[in-house]
Each structure stands twice: as C-alpha cells, then as structure tokens.
C-alpha cells in the first residue's frame, strides 16, 4: 500500500532535479505567503468583491496585464536557462529532456500566456474608453474570457512540478507529439490548457467585434475611430476565423492521445502532415493577432508624441485589412521543406512576400507622421521609435525566409530564431511596453517614472540586439534550433557567449522595469488631469483612473482624434457637465470565476485521464452555464445621479 502511494507520488510530482525542488519550495512559500497576507489583513472579501467577481473592463484589463507580466517572467526564466546551457560547448547544466521541456514551455507561454493576454489587457483598458462606451458589449463574457485564460495558464504552469512539462516544441508537431513517441502527461497539458484558453480568446474576439461595431459614441463613424480601435477590430476578425482551426487541431490530437484515434498517427491511415497544416492555418494568422494590435498602439503613441494627426489614416486602415486577409494565405511557408510541389511552394512564397507591401506602407506612414512633428521623447515614444528599425530588420529577414529555395538553407536554423524574435520582440514586446507606459496613468492614476523607464529601455533594447543579431550569423554557420548542446571547434563559441550575455542583459532590463513599477507606485507623478500626454483620443477625456462608468455623459464625436478636436473647440468639459443622470451598469458576478475553476478541474482530470475528476468537472461547467442562463434576467443596476456627481467632484472635475 505504502509502496503504491510512494510510486504514485514519484510519478505525480516531478522528481530528481534540484532546480525543480527549488521551484516546489518557492511555489509553496509564495502560496503560503499569499494566503497568510490575505488572511492576516482580512483581504479575502476584498479580493472576491473587487477582483474575482468584477465585470469592469478596466479591472479585467489590469488583471490580464499582471498575469502577463508574471508569465513574461516565467517565459523569460526559461529563455535564460536555455542560454545558460548554451553559453559554452558541451555544457551539462541541463539534460536534453529538460532542455526540450524548457524550449517548449518558453514558446507556448510567451505566445499564449504572455503576448495575447498582455494585448487583451491593453484592449480591455483602452477600447471602451477610446470609443466612448461604458463597458464592452458583453461584460460577463469578458470576465469568462479572462478567467479561462488565467486558469488555463495556471494549469499549464503546474506541469513542470506535477506530472512533467510538454516537450515537443510549441508547435507540437505530429508524430513527435503523438502518444507513441511522447507518452506521459506533458503533451496533454499543452493540448488541454491551450484548448481552455482558446475558448476564452474566441470569446474575446466576438466581444470586441460587437463592442466596436455597436457601442461607439454617437458621431464616431468607422473612419473616425482611433487606430488602436481599428487594429483591435481587425484582430478580432482574425481571431474569429483563425481560432476555431486551433480548437479542431488540439481536439483531434487530444482524441488521438486519449482515445486512440488516428488523425495524426503514422499507422492506420493517419496523416501527421495534416497537423502541420491545421496548426499553421491558425498559427500564421496568430502571428498577426499578436502583431496588428501593437501596430495600433504604435500609431497612437507616435501620433500623440509627434503631436500630429496620424499620416495616411486610410492607408493605415486598408493596409491592416490587407494584412489580415493575406495572413490566411501564407501558412505553408512554415514547412516549405516538407516536400510540396514547386508550384505550391511558389504560391506560398509569393503570397508571403506580398505581405511586405502593406507592412511597408505602414512603416512609411509612421515615418511621415514623425516628419515635421514636435517629437517628445517619452519612454513610450522611445519604444515606438525603436520598433521601426528593429522590426524592419525582422521584416526584411522574413522576406528572405519567404524565398522557398533559400529557405532550404535557413529552415530550422538560428537564422529563423533570430527572424521571429526580431518581429515578435521588436513588434509585440516593444509594443506592449509602449502601451504599458502610455496607458499606465489611465489604469492607476500615476505616471511611470521616466528616468527608470529610459534606463530599462536602453538596457533592454541594446541587449536585445546583442542577443538576436548574432543569431542570424550563427544560423548561417549551421547551428540549428532546439540543439541542447553543441560541440567545440565549429567556431560557434564566441557568438553563443555573446548571445547569452545579451539574453541576461534583457533580464536586467526587465528587472529595472519591475523596479520602475514599484518605485512609481510610491513616488510616481500623480495624474490629476486625466490627460497627462496632451492626448488626442477619448480615453484622455475622462479622469485617471477612469470612474466605473467611464464617462458621466457619452461624448459626441465629430472628427478623428476626437478629444484633440474637443480641446481646440473648448467642448472637452461637456462630458462632465451637471446635471447628471443615473447610469445603467452590469452587476458583478462570481459565475465566470467558478465556471473557469470547473474548467480547471475538468482539464486537470483530462490531462491525467482521471475521468472520476474530468466528468464531475464537466458537469460543473454545464451547471454553471445553466445557473447563468436562469440568473441573467436581472443582472444590471443603476448608479444614481448623485453618486455620479460625487465621483466627478472627487476627481476634481466639478468646481
């Protein structure tokens, strides 16, 4: 009996690696610390009332961003472990298995649990404010999206201490990720966690599409929307058409692994190639799901700090729409070398190159926006300016990769690694950092410290180039991705050392940024006006942080850059002019959180194929949905006019 328990625990918990024991200990300590803090300071009720049950888009946005920063830390530690392993030839710091697990979780976490939630967080904070709305179209569904993401992220993250991490790469190619070559629970974690967070992502896409189509302030026609709103609209459409394919790919591989079907197996007629097709039919649009929103952020930041209207508004919009359509026509360039015919490769080669055209249009539009602008070098603006050349390098090497014959040389080498980090870091990461600095005052009511922000920027940006530029060369020298070690004598030592130093430099930049956030919370300049940057769009028309109802009166929009226009005309005060009326708002509810906990339970059961756990979890999901259905008839309340007046007075908006 005791032997049985022992052997169960031995396989349930990951054992044998001192770093994992260290992680076990720190997870346990952090959990005890949090529970102690919440109990000692009697914060449980606060946590439940203010955060776990909220449907306010601004709070949900903040939670998304906190979770994304935690995941950036986790994914970043993975990256540093990989680089520590590769600092010298024949290193034995990590075993091959451990290395496989780490590059898999690094990629998966950075895409699904860092980039997307960070972007969704910024969308949540900014979009309803930018379009002059009081919330998103479906506040309940918005909370569901967040909690599904959050609990899926937790499910994925416990894999490294319970059961073992996935180890087949973030692309999880069949047949490598199939049951035969990859037994154990690791891949199940990947499949189930991504499935759960994917449901939340699809709901976010639907939610923001309807929000933007139906809830804009009067007068804001589609071509008067701020550029970040446009980019979110385009992204929502990509999500709606791309994510169901991921749902299917993950479901089919789960059915293969859990129930012995033959979609992607080698035997019984399965087709491993089909996984690559399904995965990238979602995967290439996914690249634009994490890129297009930040193009919107850069447009906002550059226009604000050049103090000019964005150059070529319509060209910006149409180029995003073109990119979104083209994003569905290029997936095969991820596997040019898998033996397609020359005609097929040629088609996808050309379709890939075409994307450079609308992207180039956007680059020139930003440059022309800067032209003759009164440029203010804030930290947000620095991130945006650094984006332009760094992203262009990534874009141009992308065009090199799109040449099918040349790709036979670059494929799966460090050249590719350098390319996609150049677009994803200079695009997505610089973009969310710019957005974080830009909207931070709107989220918390104070400005982030500029001096520390600039230190973090320079350290991170320079280190990033030290890290990734040498990768192009080491890739051309023959180093392939996912090598857990390399022999000496190939001339790879110096560049690998430089790359590792760059990676740790980025880690230092991240730490400065964390310090900046802590420092600014205490000493940051308070934003009393609600408009710290002399902003151009409506989110700056309300106070910082925005009141629960966002706008006391819904603004009237006449032009692009609606708030800049209002300030010129002297009508900016209209949104907080007495008398006030009662405001209709959605009620808080615990159902999204509870529903997501049931998803977690069912998901954990599926990972371990414990149906005694998965089935009750699934029943819990269905019951939560039924309870919601019966309770949503009266899920709104009114904020009385007097309370609106008090809030506006407290924000210093009424004399």
């Amino acid at each position: 009996m005791i032997e049985n328990i022992k052997s169960f625990l031995g396989s349930f918990f990951v054992t044998g690696d001192p770093m994992i024991y260290g992680a076990d200990a720190s997870i346990a300590l952090a959990t005890i610390g949090i529970v102690f803090y919440l109990t000692y300071f009697k914060k449980w009720k606060w946590l439940w009332d203010e955060w776990l049950t909220t449907v306010d888009h601004k709070k949900i946005g903040i939670m998304y961003i906190i979770a994304a920063i935690l995941m950036l830390f986790r994914g970043g530690v993975d990256a540093l472990l990989m680089r520590a392993q590769l600092i010298i030839p024949n290193n034995t710091f990590l075993t091959s298995q451990h290395y496989n697990e780490i590059f898999t979780t690094h990629g998966t976490i950075m895409i699904f649990f860092m980039a997307m939630p960070f972007i969704f967080g910024l969308m949540n904070i900014a979009i309803p404010l930018q379009i002059g709305a009081r919330d998103v179209a479906f506040p309940f569904l918005n909370a569901v999206s967040f909690w599904l993401f959050f609990l899926a992220a937790m499910l994925f993250n416990i894999s490294f201490v319970i059961g073992g991490s996935p180890d087949a790469g973030w692309t999880s190619y069949a047949p490598l990720a199939g049951l035969k070559l990859d037994p154990g629970v690791g891949e199940n974690y990947y499949l189930v966690a991504l499935q759960i967070s994917g449901i939340g992502t699809l709901a976010t896409g639907v939610n923001f599409l309807v929000t933007i189509f139906k809830m804009r302030a009067p007068g804001m026609t589609l071509f008067k929307m701020p550029m970040f709103t446009w980019s979110t609209l385009v992204t929502s459409i990509i999500i709606i058409f791309a994510f169901p394919v991921l749902t299917i790919a993950l479901a089919l591989m789960s059915i293969d692994r859990l129930f012995g079907a033959h979609f992607f197996t080698i035997e019984a007629g399965g087709s491993p190639m089909m996984w690559a097709n399904l995965f990238w039919i979602w995967g290439h649009p996914e690249v634009y799901i994490v890129l297009i929103p930040v193009l919107g952020i850069f447009s906002e930041v550059i226009s604000t700090f050049a103090h000019k209207t964005l150059f070529g508004y319509k060209a910006m919009v149409w180029s995003m729409i073109a990119i979104s359509v083209l994003s569905f026509t290029t997936w095969l360039h991820h596997f040019f070398t898998m033996g397609n015919t020359a005609w097929v490769n040629s088609f996808f080669s050309v379709s890939t190159m075409i994307i450079a055209i609308p992207t180039g249009v956007k680059i020139f539009n930003w440059l022309f926006t800067l032209n003759k602008g009164r440029i203010e070098f804030t930290t947000a603006m620095l991130w945006a300016l650094a984006f332009i050349p760094n992203f262009t390098i990534g874009g141009i090497t992308g065009v090199m990769l799109s040449l099918a014959p040349a790709d036979y040389q670059y494929h799966n080498s460090y050249f590719l690694i350098a390319h996609f980090h150049n677009v994803l870091i200079a695009g997505t990461v610089f973009g969310v950092f710019a957005g974080l600095h830009y909207w931070w005052p709107k989220m918390f009511g104070h400005v982030l410290n500029e001096r520390l922000g600039k230190w973090a920027f320079w350290v991170f940006m320079i280190s990033y180039n030290i890290c990734f530029l040498p990768m192009y060369f080491i890739g051309l020298m023959g180093m392939t991705r996912r090598m857990y070690t390399f022999p000496s004598g190939l001339g790879w030592e110096p560049l690998n050392l430089v790359i590792t130093l760059g990676a740790f430099g980025m880690g230092v930049g991240f730490l400065i940024m964390v310090w900046m956030i802590v420092y600014s919370a205490k000493y940051g300049k308070r934003d009393t006006t609600g408009d710290p940057w002399n902003g151009r769009t409506l989110e700056w028309a309300t106070s910082s942080p925005a009141p629960e109802y966002n706008f006391a009166h819904i603004p009237q929009v006449e032009t692009v850059d609606a708030f800049a226009h209002m300030k010129e005309k002297g009508t900016a005060g209209n949104i907080y002019k007495a008398p006030f009326q009662a405001i209709h708002m959605p009620n808080d509810t615990g159902i999204p959180f509870i529903l997501s906990v049931f998803f977690f339970i069912a998901g954990f059961g599926l990972v371990f194929e414990w149906y005694w756990m998965a089935i009750p979890g699934t029943i819990g999901i269905i019951v939560s949905m039924i309870v919601r259905s019966f309770k949503d008839h009266e899920d709104h309340h009114h904020i009385p006019a007097e309370e609106v007046e008090q809030t506006e007075r407290a924000a210093g908006r009424l004399s």
Binding site: A261, G269, H633
Partner: protein, 200 residues
C-alpha cells in the same frame, strides 16, 4: 418596453440586439470549426487502413430518416419564431417542444447508428483514420444537437416562468438561430459524408 411594429421584441433592447449580432459572429466561427472538420474528414476518407469503407457502412434508410427528422425540426423551430413574434408563449413553447422531440429522435437514431457500427460492423474510432474522421465530424454535430436540446429545455422553462419578455424573446430567437445552423451543417454532412460516401 419600447416595442414598435418595426422592431421585433428580441431586438428591442440594445443588449438584445448586441447579443444577437454576437451570436451571428459566433456562428461564423462555428462555420470555420466545421469547415476544418470537413476538410479533415474528406482528406482521410480513403484512408481506411483495411477497415470498413463508407460504402460498407452507410445505410440509405437510416440516414434519410435522420435527415428528415432534423429538417422537420428546423421547420417547427421556425414556426416557433412566428409565434414568438405574435407574443404567443403557448404556441412558441408548443413548437419548441415538438422541435425538441424531433431533435431527441434524431440523436436516438444517430446513437443507434454509431452503436451498430461499433458492435456489429466492428468499425470504431480506433479502426482507421477514415473512421476517426467520421465519428468526430458527425459526433461533433451530434454533440452540438445534444447541447442544443439541454439549452432549449432551459429556454422553455424560462419562457413558461416569465412569458415573452425582451430577454426570453432574445433567448428563444438565438436558440432558433443555433438550431437552424445545425440543420445547415447537417445538410453538408448529408451531402459530403453520406451521399458522397455511397458513391466514392
């Protein structure tokens, strides 16, 4: 509520019309989902790995009855929407109950079909890639119908309790959209899986 002759009750509130648009968008995503499943099935159709083929398995009589049950249920669901527009709870609920029973009949037939395949023909999910594709495509549709039945029961109870309000009307309208959508998917299954499977 401000219902006029021009605005149907389910669209009469902002929330109602937003949710209906949201559901249409969701159906767009569902179309992509089923498209992916159809592609997978069609690619794998000939990958029978020595197991039974579609010609061996499909019975015209069985799938014709399933088809008629589902098509008629879509018609009765549409009749329910007409009663909804007349604010006639009894008529609406009656048609929804008929729809539900036809849906149950369809699910019963499909389960029977699956059980026959597995027990009599020894054609299981694990037999071949073709059968994996078949069971998952047709099964996903069946799971949607089953989910729709549970959902419709919830809507019926709410209609009986509360009558036709903007909220219950919206719910009845949306379950109708969902039901018609499943009918459309079935027409593709009927054509691409069953009819094609008999000839190819």
């Amino acid at each position: 509520m401000e219902t006029t002759n021009h605005t149907p009750i389910e669209y009469s509130t902002e929330e109602g019309s937003n949710k209906i648009l949201g559901f249409w968008v969701f159906l767009g995503a569902e179309i992509v989902l089923f498209s992916a499943l159809f592609s997978v099935y069609l690619v794998l159709h000939s990958h029978t790995a020595g197991g039974p083929t579609s010609k061996d398995l499909f019975e015209v009589k069985e799938f014709m009855i399933e088809t008629f049950l589902l098509l008629i249920s879509s018609f009765t669901c549409g009749l329910g929407t007409i009663e909804l527009r007349r604010h006639n709870v009894k008529g609406l609920v009656a048609w929804l109950v008929v729809t539900l029973l036809l849906g149950l009949g369809f699910i019963g037939m499909e389960l029977n079909e699956f059980i026959t395949y597995v027990t009599v023909e020894h054609a299981t999910l694990q037999t071949s890639a073709f059968l994996s594709g078949f069971f998952v495509l047709v099964g996903t549709h069946g799971a949607h119908v089953s989910f729709g039945i549970v959902w419709m029961i919830c809507v019926i109870i709410q209609l009986l309790r509360r009558g036709v309000t903007p909220v219950t009307a919206r719910k009845a309208f949306i379950i109708g959209l969902y039901w018609h959508f499943l009918d459309v998917v079935w027409i593709f299954i009927f054509t691409a899986v069953y009819l094609t499977g008999l000839v190819l």
